[in-house]
Symmetry: C2
Subunit: 155 residues, 2 copies
């Protein structure tokens, strides 16, 4: 049995995202998994995802942080509400703001390993902080304000 990612539970109409949509075959297919109160993600950059040769493109790092953070926000709110992820009504977050600090040049080759947690959970907004490691070295930090899509938008 394949392990289920948070993104596998998104309703179909919200599963076309270039970053994490399971229905977007041209996309990055970022997948996030719950691990206690945190969420983790492992992402393998492609050879073309270069910045300066040998290092990962910052826009890709921002993209993976973005989608992993909105997934983490959904997981955190399901947990706060004592609900199984994917149970009705579905939770889907979009990004209100994104901040990335590039702490070190990120080597291109090994997977990016992300670890995120929700640090503030409001009724509509969730703040998610992320550490991004390569080979165990902290290379970037992200902070995302994720905003809940209103239930009225679900078909």
């Amino acid at each position: 049995m394949t392990k289920q990612a948070i993104q596998d539970l998104y309703p179909d109409q919200f599963s076309h995202c270039y970053g994490c949509g399971r229905l977007n075959d041209a996309g990055l297919k970022v997948r996030s998994f719950r691990e206690g109160e945190e969420c983790v993600c492992s992402f393998a950059p492609r050879p073309e995802h270069t910045a300066i040769p040998g290092f990962v493109y910052g826009g890709l790092i921002a993209s993976v942080i973005d989608c992993h953070s909105t997934g983490t926000a959904a997981a955190a709110v399901y947990r706060r509400e004592g609900r199984e992820p994917g149970s009705d009504p579905p939770l889907r977050f979009v990004t209100g703001s994104l901040h990335v600090d590039y702490l070190k040049p990120t080597p291109l080759g090994p997977p990016l390993e992300l670890r995120s947690r929700a640090t503030e959970i409001g009724s509509r907004k969730v703040v998610v902080e992320t550490d991004l490691y390569v080979n165990g070295v902290l290379c970037a930090r992200g902070s995302v304000v994720a905003v809940k899509i209103p239930e009225s938008m679900f078909g």
Copy 2:
């Protein structure tokens, strides 16, 4: 004669970036042009660059802001130094931090129109602020701290 973009002037070894490298055929090929003290960029998202259907993926917006901002930083420093862009020693910036506020859902279809300016120019760091419009509507704002690659890294 094709108009020359700031990115056309980057040394070859720094022209492989997924976001703006003219030598990265799988990449986005972001191109930035000087317009007085500002720099402008027009970028056409591809159909797969979707977030929720009908809207542009936030990670793509972050990527375009990223590369347009480092280009704007280079242009601003050439200008400050009274030099022609591309003259020796070459200037190339990377991203130290990236912040994006997503003000409105950005419709997918028309080009993204970016307008950037350097608001602080230090000896190593340049702060670049960007407004991103679609159909004349301000959809996102970016703020990037761009960091100069030391001359010693140029071959």
